[in-house]
Amino acid sequence: MSVAAEPQLEYRTAIVEAMAEELERDERVIFYGEDVARAGGVFKATPGLHERFGDERVFDTPISELAMCGAAFGAAVTGLRPVLEVMFGDFMTLAMDALVNQAAKWWYLSNHRTPVPLVIRSAVGAGGSFGAIHSQNPAPWYLSVPGLKIACPAFPADAKAMLKAAIRDQNPVLFLEHKRLYSLKGPHPQREVEPLGSARVARAGEDVTVLAIQRGVHDALAAAEQLAAEGIDAEVLDLRCLRPLDLDAVLASVGRTNRLLVVDEGAALGGWGGSVIGAVAQHGLEHLDDVWLLASPEHPVPYSPPLERAFLPGGEAIAASVRERLGLGAPTTT
């Protein structure tokens, strides 16, 4: 294959570019977190911001997730636009109160007088043998909370344009970055901001809709390539946001394919995947010939690499499960 002509954007660069542009554009934007300023973040997603914007706007914090999130709420309702990093999504357990009992409630409780423009960025997901407490996706913990938005871009272009949208949004946004995407490269965004709440067809197809987020989108695309070679034409839908949910896009896709597979890295019960299936069943039952979920087993993320690989629904597993549900055998070896 020839090298793409257009310069490529790395996911972690998308993040720092979005941050820099919004810090530049709006002096109400501030950014803080543990080791995000001088060190540029443990995932190296925010280098250079501290030097450029100074310590009043970009700073390192104590290891105090609750204070960080409480401070973001207080700053947001008084006119700033805080962005903060919670290093690993697993630590969102500690920040929950300020987000759920405060940030997500104030717009309603203030009788629509006080918006809460804040963003929490967090690195989530498994696949690097970081073990059970550094591999979770906190989205399901927060999915049921009205007033929150949850963004989970799969591509560098979306990471940049959606992060910019999140920072300009008037509502609290949980912005989840999958660890196995930081080094991914892809095209630059085509528009400056990508409003939160719309799904995107990552690959059009006719036979089955494979719905995923983050890393799962890439696994689904890989599976779709395999399946295409076997004559199965899978549509891959990148949800991009979990809340608000672009149910119309899901229903439109399922209306075409009549079959829905949801790929969710987390547990089957109570995850975002099951919720989406529930919504489709309620609103599109007549379209559904088949619907199933590929999720992980009901236990924590294992450390041992083979255990973790088997635990996660990867491209092979997606392809195999589509084959199975569509009544096709394994591909003959070429």
């Binding site: 104590p62 409480g70 401070a71 207080g74 309702v77 008084t78 700033l80 405060q102 629509h112 006080t114």
Partner: protein, 339 residues
């Protein structure tokens, strides 16, 4: 180290009950008395309206602690912020929310300060600097450090009110430390009324000196008689000046007493009679009336005039609140998101 500098500027002072000098002009003190009376009258009225079924759920009345929110808020100015608790009617009124809008909120009326959506525990009014009343013990502390980040940009300050019980919460520790290392203009005001719900402080708090906890973060702190408004004002002025001048946060422990139970259903029988009586004898309003008369030479008729004025204002406020429409799905239309 920057955080060290702020340590010296405000020293701990012994608990004292002395009064401000007699040369002080009476007007601002009369205005504060008026606010205390308004709060007291408001709370008593709310208690009645609760029994009449016009106020719902639960309420946490502020009787006995009026000098604290009135005293502290009286030294604030536009652009400052306050985060208060579920026991927040005092702070709300002290910040200038009208008794009518607050009563209407508690009665679930459309004219309530938050349209009847929040109720007693969730009063919010950023227009008057009230970041909110927080139903979560300690929540006010988190909000205040954030508001202080904002306020720092324009020389403002942010105040957190919270109780003795809140000093054992996660928010307390993380946020005090955060405020010091970030040198934020935050004033932490602990209203130590000796109890958290039905439990006396010493049974759950590994300290008999809350102000000393602040000192562990190298934060200047002071303990005052929270029932003596002149003391509260003096300490608050010092703390606010310190914070406004970019000296970093400051801490006030205000000793006080809840004259009623924790919430509407609590007869507060767990408190020793002598303790209660001793504190009732030090009612902050009566103490201040006496000081106005005896120290500032205000005449009794003038005080009676303020009382009558407050009573009239309250009666009108309650009447107007009662007359307003209840918030119903027909007149309240919620959107999930701000646009």
């Amino acid at each position: 180290m920057k955080i060290m500098q702020s340590f010296a500027s405000m020293s701990r002072r012994p608990h004292r009950t002395s009064h401000a000098a007699a040369t002080v002009a009476a007007e601002p003190w009369l205005a504060r008395l008026r606010q205390m009376l308004l709060i007291r009258g408001f709370e008593l009225e709310i208690q009645r309206q609760f029994l009449r079924g016009e106020v719902h759920g639960t309420t946490h009345l502020y009787n006995g602690q009026e000098a604290i929110s009135v005293g502290v808020c009286s030294v604030l100015r536009d652009g400052d912020y306050v985060a208060a608790t579920y026991r927040g009617h005092g702070a709300a009124l002290a910040l200038g929310i009208s008794a009518e809008a607050l009563a209407a909120e508690l009665m679930g009326r459309t004219t309530g300060i938050d349209g009847g959506r929040g109720g007693s525990m969730n009063v919010i009014d950023l227009e008057r600097g009230l970041v909110g009343c927080f139903g979560i013990v300690g929540g006010s502390i988190g909000a205040a450090i954030g508001a202080a980040i904002s306020a720092k940009r324009h020389g403002g300050v942010a105040v957190a009110f919270f109780g003795d019980g809140a000093t054992n919460q996660a928010y307390f520790h993380e946020c005090l430390n955060f405020a010091v290392v970030r040198c934020l203009p935050a004033i932490f005001v602990c209203e130590n009324n000796l109890y958290g719900e039905f439990t006396p402080m010493e049974r759950v708090t590994a300290s008999d000196d809350i102000a000393a906890r602040a000192a562990a973060y190298y934060m200047p702190s002071r303990k005052v008689d929270g029932n003596a408004i002149a003391d509260v004002v003096d300490a608050a002025e010092e703390a606010v000046r310190h914070a406004r001048e970019q000296g970093g946060p400051a801490f006030l422990e205000c000793l006080t007493y809840r004259q009623l139970g924790h919430s509407k259903s609590d007869p507060a029988t767990y408190r020793p009679t002598e303790e209660r009586d001793a504190w009732l004898a030090r009612d902050p309003i009566e103490l201040e009336k006496a000081r106005l008369r005896d120290v500032l030479g205000v005449d009794a008729v003038q005080i009676a005039g303020v009382e009558a004025d407050v009573a009239r204002e309250l009666a009108e406020a309650i009447e107007a609140a009662l007359a307003a429409p209840v918030a119903t799905p027909e007149n309240d239309c919620a959107t999930e998101y701000a646009a």
